[in-house]
Amino acid sequence: MESKTLNLNMGPQHPSTHGVLRVELEVDGETVVRARPVVGYLHTGIEKTMESKLYYKALPCTDRMDYLSPMNNNLGFCLAVEKLMDIEVPGKVNYARVILSELTRIKSHLVWVGTHAFDLGAMSVVLYAFREREMIVDIYEACAGQRMMSTYIRIGGLAKELPSNFEKLVRKFLKVMPAKLRDYEDLLTHNRIFIGRTKDVAVISAQDAINWSLSGPMLRGSGVKHDLRKDNPYCGYENFDFDIAYGENGDSYDRYLLRMEEIRQSLRIIQQAIDGMPEGPYRAHVPGVVLPPKEDVLHKMESMIFHFKIITEGFKTPVGSVYQGIESPKGELGFFISSDGTNKPNRVRVRPPSFINLASLPVLCEGHLLSDAVCAVGSVDIVLGEVDR
């Protein structure tokens, strides 16, 4: 009897692909022989768009890439421009940025744990996770007025002063979250079905993980100790006491445990940052480059002129190229800015962590069961807005 393999399309409209990802699968019975991810359905040319805009006006484009962690994207771009312009930001800004980017990490991981458990048949976690995510989104709203596309972190500082209830909201979240985290773990960590679906599934060795340029939880899940917050600190992360979580087996279950531990470590960092938050201005004072505070614009002549000039013609940058990588929830998010000395970037390159992590999908799927492909796609933690840009 002749045996034939079957070509199967997973996506682009499939609930477990979290967006418009298509995977061309070649299956032999229930086993995946070959997997080929097809991306690009959401390509909007964000890098090209950013080239045509002034640096300030390119910033809102970054929110739209990884829409589950907008603050991290803002931060990466702002740090790169600040490096290009050699701007030092005040201490309070650094603390606020650390708090916001760690909150964003928790927010992104909550969506991940909810949807991943949902893919594997545990319906309830997603409802609980979104409940706690709501508290973070409320903090976003208090800060920026926006719940998703916040654009709150700006070049040289923050968009506006932190709200008066910021500390209260963050402290409330810090109080509530640890107990809720235990709830999720009660639901999943010792759940036999969840363990059965994730343990020894989508395995990638440390050697392969490095070779495929993976980053973030995908790399640390295989036991490689690489975290830019520790290795190449930015925003003053070296002042905080926290541990890097890493896995051993590089399977989907390890990556789940790791992300849960990362939430716990993020809570530790936020606690330290909110306790030690210094007073000070919310934006650096660099005339002609950093926008002056809004109050000054309304009352001072020079500030108004600078504001007007920065908005209409931007600022001239030195010739050269800089790269700034940050540890986003998905992995190493890098911004490479190449400047030709004008007021617009010559080239903005985003190192998209999800895109590079997704490239390893064939390694995770091939030779395993078809139902494990769903788990593999989920455990990579992709956001198609960032993959396709």
């Binding site: 991306v39 690009g40 390509h43 040319g45 890098e47 090209k48 768009t49 045509s52 490096k83 290009l84 050699d86 392969d208 490095i210 070779n211 495929w212 340029s213 993976l214 980053s215 490689v224 690489h226 290795d231 190449n232 010739v319 050269g320 190229s321 800089v322 790269y323 990588g325 190493e332 890098g334 490479f336 190449s338 030709d340 010559n346 080239r347 390159r349 190192r351 895109f355 590079i356 490239a359 390893s360 396709d388 840009r389």
Partner: protein, 171 residues
């Protein structure tokens, strides 16, 4: 670490470094097109430097500023040593006509999609790549959008009265 890499490159590949640049702490070495693959292989295999991580691979179009770097395209290899926590850049200058460079896929699997992206968006050809096809843009799109001479267009909604009008070019 910077001196170590420089010394390594000078000892193993005499005259390979055509130019050096250190801007805001980012160290770049400009190397020749022919040597790039051998340099990457040597850096990867050297147990002391152990540059095992290709963090990123990208390209820049310097149309209108060719005299500044000596060619139109610049391919940027962002290399990272996990052991030494050190990042540096290898840069290669390619001409405007038929830009071509050896693929790094034999060394790093991760270079596969990165090179496909550069080919798709910038039109730089990677010889020896196993599957150099479009990755982000639609199949029917002609040209390479990230080139500086590819116009940004304003997509006008199509009605009967303007269906013959060409899209407005912003830049």
């Amino acid at each position: 670490m910077e001196e170590k890499v420089r010394e390594f490159l000078q000892n193993r590949f005499a005259g390979a470094i055509t130019r050096e640049d250190n801007f805001r702490g980012d160290q770049s070495f400009y190397v020749s097109t022919e040597d790039l693959f051998a340099i990457c292989q040597a850096l990867y295999e050297d147990p002391d430097l152990s540059v095992r991580y290709l963090a990123d691979l990208t390209s820049v179009d310097w149309l209108g500023h060719e005299e500044r770097i000596g060619g139109r395209f610049e391919v940027v290899y962002n290399l990272y040593s996990l052991q030494h926590k050190y990042r540096f850049f290898l840069k290669v200058i390619l001409p405007a006509e038929n830009p071509e460079i050896a693929s790094l896929t034999p060394i790093w699997d991760g270079a596969n999609w990165l090179e496909r992206e550069v080919w798709d968006l910038m039109g730089i050809k990677f010889t020896g790549h196993p599957d150099l096809t479009k990755i982000l843009t639609p199949d029917d799109l002609e040209g390479h959008p990230l080139r500086r001479d590819f116009p940004i267009t304003w997509e006008v909604p199509q009605f009967n009265w303007n269906k013959d009008k060409s899209p407005e070019v912003i830049k």
